[in-house]
C-alpha cells in the first residue's frame, strides 16, 4: 500500500452529493448515528462528477479509502448518473491496479437522502476492512 496512513484508524474520504447523499450524512449526525471520526466528506453536485484524478490524488496523499456516496436512481440530474458513476469506479479501479493500489480501497454505494443508518453501516464496515488490511501489511 503506497503512502497509506499507517497511524491510527484508517482515513476515509467520502465524496457525497449536495442534494441526495450529503443530507443523509447530516441526518446521521442529527440522529446521533455514530461512525468513525476519521471519515471526511467533500460534497459535489452529482456522484458522476467525481474525477478519477481526484480519487488517485486522495490515495497519493495518504487516504486509506475513498467512498463514493452515490445518488443512484435518485439523482436529480438524470437516470444516466448510476451508469456514469459505475464507469468512473471501473476506470479508477483499473488505474489503481496499474499503480499497485488495492481496488477494494475504492467503494461506491447509493446513499439516498434518508439513508443515514446505511451510510454509517457502510463507512463502519469499510473502516473495519481497511483496518484489517493495514494490520496485515
Amino acid at each position: 500500500m503506497n503512502n497509506q496512513n499507517l497511524n491510527g484508524a484508517p482515513k476515509i474520504l467520502v465524496f457525497s452529493t449536495e442534494k441526495i447523499s450529503d443530507p443523509a450524512i447530516d441526518l446521521a449526525g442529527l440522529l446521533k448515528v455514530h461512525y468513525p471520526s476519521t471519515v471526511y466528506t467533500i460534497n459535489v453536485p452529482c456522484s458522476s462528477a467525481v474525477k478519477t484524478k481526484w480519487i488517485l490524488h486522495a490515495f497519493e496523499k495518504g487516504f486509506d479509502g475513498v467512498f463514493i456516496a452515490a445518488d443512484g436512481t435518485d439523482c436529480p440530474y438524470g437516470e444516466s448518473c448510476s451508469k456514469l458513476t459505475g464507469e468512473i469506479v471501473s476506470v479508477t479501479h483499473e488505474r489503481m491496479k496499474e499503480q499497485n493500489i488495492d481496488p477494494a480501497r475504492l467503494k461506491m454505494a447509493a446513499i439516498c437522502s434518508v439513508c443515514a443508518e446505511a451510510f454509517a453501516k457502510h463507512v463502519k464496515s469499510f473502516t473495519e476492512y481497511l483496518s484489517k488490511e493495514k494490520n496485515t501489511n
Binding site: 482515513k11 447530516d26 471520526s37 466528506t41 467533500i42 459535489v44 462528477a49 496523499k61 438524470g78
Partner: protein, 649 residues
C-alpha cells in the same frame, strides 16, 4: 489566491462546543497561512455575530470568509448574505460543517471530533483561497404547486396559494375531503364542528379557479427538481358517473341509497374506528364532500347488484394515470392515531376499554344517552399518555394535543349527557396556553384528577362485571386509589401515517419520531432538504388544528415566494471548458443529459463549449474528458485537490 481570510468557529450554544474544543480549533487555524482573523462565536447566526463579522470584513479588507458551524443546508445563504452585506462576493465564503458531520456524529468521541473539525476547517480554508467571485444563474419555474392531502391543512394551503396567484393541484388519496377533522364534532376554541370547518373549506376550494381537486388520487412517481417537478398521479375510480350530481337530483340520491341498502358487503368502518360497519358503497355522513358516495374498490366484490338499482354507478371505470408539471410540492398528509397493543391497559381484552378517538365517534353515535355495548355509561376513566411519552416504546415524544382533547371531550360529554363522572388518570396535564381554561373548567365542574409517574402506570383489571383501575396517586402522597369505571378511555396520541410511502417517493427524510423532518424547527420549520418540497401539519409532528393552520400557511407562503417570479435563482455552478487543451472527441456531449455542450471553432480547431443557459452544473461531463479539459465552477481541480491535502495533513 485569497490572502486575508476571516475564520469564525461557532459554539452553536453547546451543540458544537460540548464535543468539539472550539478554542483549540481556533488557535490552530489562526496560525494557518492567509488567516487574518480567527475567532470563536457563541452563535454565528445571531444578528450581533453577523454584524461583528461584517465589521471585521470591512475594517480589515478581508477577501475570504470561512464559518465553521452547522450544515450549509441551514445557514449557507445566511452567511453568504453576511458576506454580500460586507461587500464581499458571496462565493468567496465557504462553510465547514462541524455540527451535523462532526460534533453530533462523533458525540461519542470528543477528541476525534475536535481533530476532524480542525481538518474540515483547514479544507474550507483551502477551498476559499481558490474561490472565484460569481453571480447566480436563473432558470424558469412553473408557478404551480402540488398539495398532497385534502384535509384542513391541504385545503387551507390550497386556498392561500390560489389567493396568492399560484395554480394548485390538490390531491386526496381517499374519496372524501376533510381528513381527520371531519371525524370530530365540536372543537376547541370556537365550538365549530369538524364538519362545519371542512364544508367551509371545501366550498372555498371549489369556488377557486386556480385550484384543481383530484379525489381518490395519489402520487406514483416523481422526477425533475425544484421549479420543474414532473409528478405522475394515479386516480382510483369512484365507480360513480361524474356527470351525476347528488345535490341537483333527488331521484339519483334515492337510487344511490337503494344501492347502499342492497350492497351485500359489510366491512369495518374506519371512520368510526371500528365501532360500526359500513357497506362497500358508502358515505360517512350526510354532508360529506364530495357529496356522492364512493365504492371501496378494495372490498367491492363487483356483484353488480348496485348497478341494477342505480344507473349512475359505473363498475367498469378504470384507474387513470396522468402527469402534471409543478414547481413545488407541499405534503399535508396528516397522522394516524396510536392504536394500543392488545392488552395495553386492557385494550381489546376488556370490552369497555376504548381509545379517545373511538370515544369521540361514540358520542356522535349516541344522541340522547351514552351507551356502549348496551350499557349506559356513568363513570368514565381517562388514562393519559397512551402511546406517547413511552418509557420503553419508540414514541418518546409528547403528542401535545391529547390532554386538551381529552379534557374538552370530558366537558362536552358531561354537558351532553346526565349524571356523568369523569376521572382523569394522568402523568401531568399539558394544557398549554389558552387551553388551560379547559382544565380549570373541568376541575370546576367536579372532574377528578389523579396522577402517577411513568414508572408506575395505572393498572386496569376486571372483577366480574366491574372494570376497575388502580393508581398510586402522587397528588395524595402516593395513596393507592381504585376507580370503578363503566368505560375506560385510553387517551392515545398521534403517530406518523402507517402508509407514508409518499415520503419515499419524494425522498423526504424522517426524524427520530418517524414524522417527516424539517431542516430546522425554528429557522426552516416547513422546508425539507429536498429543494421545493415542503411539509406542514401533523405529517411533520403532533399538532392541533390551530397549529396545523399556522404551519400550512407558512409552507404556502414559502412555496409561493419561491415560484411567484416565474424563475428560480440557481447556483452559478456550471461547467467550463479549457479550450486550449480540448481536442473535440464528443464524449462530453454524450455524457451531458441536457444537450448543454456544443462544438465551436477555437484558434483553428474544433472544441467543446458550454451552453450556459442549459448547463445544470451536474458535472457529468467532467470525468469522461480524456484531456481533463473541463472543470466545474466551485469544484475545480485545484479546489478539490487542495481540500484533499488539507484533510489528510
Amino acid at each position: 489566491m485569497k490572502k486575508k481570510i476571516g475564520v469564525y468557529i461557532c459554539h452553536c450554544g453547546n451543540n458544537i462546543s460540548d464535543y468539539v474544543d472550539v478554542e483549540k480549533v481556533k488557535d490552530i487555524i489562526a496560525a494557518e497561512d492567509g488567516v487574518a482573523i480567527a475567532k470563536t462565536t457563541m452563535f454565528a447566526c445571531a444578528d450581533s455575530a453577523q454584524n461583528e463579522i461584517i465589521q471585521d470584513i470591512q475594517d480589515n479588507n478581508l477577501d475570504g470568509l470561512v464559518i465553521a458551524s452547522c450544515s450549509p443546508k441551514l445557514h449557507l445563504f445566511t452567511f453568504r448574505n453576511v458576506a454580500e452585506r460586507a461587500g464581499l462576493n458571496p462565493y468567496n465564503y465557504v462553510q465547514a460543517n462541524i455540527r451535523e458531520q462532526t460534533s453530533w456524529a462523533h458525540s461519542d468521541n470528543p477528541k476525534g471530533a475536535t481533530e476532524k473539525a480542525i481538518q474540515l476547517v483547514k479544507a474550507a480554508l483551502a477551498k476559499v483561497k481558490h474561490s472565484e467571485a460569481l453571480a447566480l444563474q436563473k432558470i424558469p419555474a412553473v408557478n404551480t404547486v402540488l398539495v398532497i392531502g385534502a384535509g384542513v391543512a391541504g385545503m387551507r394551503s390550497a386556498i392561500e396559494l390560489a389567493d396568492m396567484g399560484s395554480k394548485v393541484h390538490l390531491i386526496e388519496r381517499t374519496h372524501f375531503v376533510g381528513g381527520r377533522t371531519s371525524q370530530w364534532s365540536k372543537l376547541f376554541t370556537t365550538s365549530e364542528t369538524g364538519e362545519e370547518i371542512v364544508s367551509r373549506l371545501y366550498y372555498s376550494v371549489l369556488e377557486h379557479d386556480n385550484i384543481t381537486l383530484y379525489m381518490g388520487t395519489e402520487v406514483v412517481s416523481n422526477s425533475g427538481s425544484v421549479g420543474n417537478f414532473e409528478v405522475e398521479l394515479k386516480k382510483t375510480p369512484r365507480y360513480i358517473d361524474p356527470d351525476c350530481k347528488i345535490e341537483d337530483d333527488t331521484e339519483f340520491e334515492n337510487k344511490l341509497q337503494k344501492a347502499i341498502d342492497i350492497c351485500p358487503v359489510e366491512v369495518i368502518d374506519e371512520f368510526n374506528f371500528g365501532l360500526t360497519k359500513r357497506k362497500a358503497i358508502y358515505k360517512n355522513f350526510k354532508s360529506e364532500f364530495p357529496e356522492c358516495p364512493a365504492i371501496d374498490a378494495a372490498n367491492c366484490t363487483k356483484c353488480g347488484d348496485c348497478e341494477k338499482v342505480c344507473d349512475g354507478i359505473k363498475l367498469d371505470q378504470k384507474e387513470e394515470y396522468t402527469t402534471i408539471k409543478v414547481g413545488a410540492i407541499q405534503l399535508c398528509t396528516g397522522f394516524d392515531p396510536y392504536e394500543p397493543k392488545d392488552g395495553e391497559f386492557g385494550y381489546n381484552e376488556i370490552d369497555n376499554v376504548i381509545t379517545l378517538q373511538q370515544f369521540k365517534r361514540l358520542i356522535e353515535l349516541c344522541p340522547d344517552k351514552l351507551i356502549h355495548k348496551d350499557k349506559e355509561i356513568r363513570n368514565i376513566a381517562y388514562i393519559y399518555c397512551v402511546g406517547s411519552r413511552q418509557v420503553d416504546g419508540d414514541n418518546k415524544y409528547c403528542s401535545r394535543y391529547c390532554c386538551t382533547s381529552a379534557i374538552f371531550t370530558a366537558i362536552h360529554v358531561k354537558d351532553k349527557y346526565k349524571n356523568i363522572n369523569n376521572f382523569h388518570l394522568n402523568r401531568g396535564i399539558r394544557t398549554y396556553g389558552k387551553q388551560e381554561i379547559l382544565y380549570h373548567q373541568s376541575s370546576s365542574q367536579g372532574d377528578i384528577y389523579l396522577q402517577s409517574f411513568a414508572d408506575s402506570p395505572p393498572v386496569v383489571g376486571k372483577n366480574g362485571n366491574t372494570t376497575s383501575i388502580i393508581i398510586n396517586d402522587i397528588l395524595t402522597a402516593d395513596k393507592e386509589i381504585e376507580v370503578e369505571a363503566d368505560l375506560v378511555v385510553l387517551v392515545t396520541g398521534m403517530i406518523p401515517r402507517k402508509d407514508n410511502s409518499i415520503g419515499n417517493i419524494l425522498k423526504v427524510p424522517y426524524g427520530r419520531d418517524n414524522f417527516f423532518n424539517e431542516i430546522h424547527p425554528k429557522l426552516k420549520p416547513v422546508e425539507t432538504v429536498i429543494d421545493g418540497v415542503f411539509i406542514s401539519g401533523a405529517c411533520q409532528a403532533p399538532l392541533n388544528i390551530t397549529e396545523t393552520s399556522k404551519s400550512t400557511l407558512s409552507a404556502a407562503s414559502k412555496a409561493n415566494s419561491l415560484l411567484k417570479s416565474g424563475e428560480i435563482e440557481l447556483e452559478p455552478t456550471i461547467a467550463q471548458v479549457k479550450s486550449d487543451i480540448c481536442n473535440w472527441c464528443d464524449k462530453c456531449t454524450l455524457a451531458c443529459p441536457y444537450d448543454a455542450i456544443s462544438k465551436i471553432e477555437h484558434k483553428g480547431k474544433q472544441v467543446a463549449a458550454i451552453i450556459e443557459a442549459k448547463c445544470k452544473g451536474c458535472g457529468m461531463c467532467l470525468p469522461v474528458c480524456p484531456e481533463n479539459a473541463i472543470d466545474l465552477i466551485g469544484f475545480s481541480d485545484v479546489e478539490i485537490e487542495t481540500m484533499i491535502e488539507a484533510l489528510i495533513e
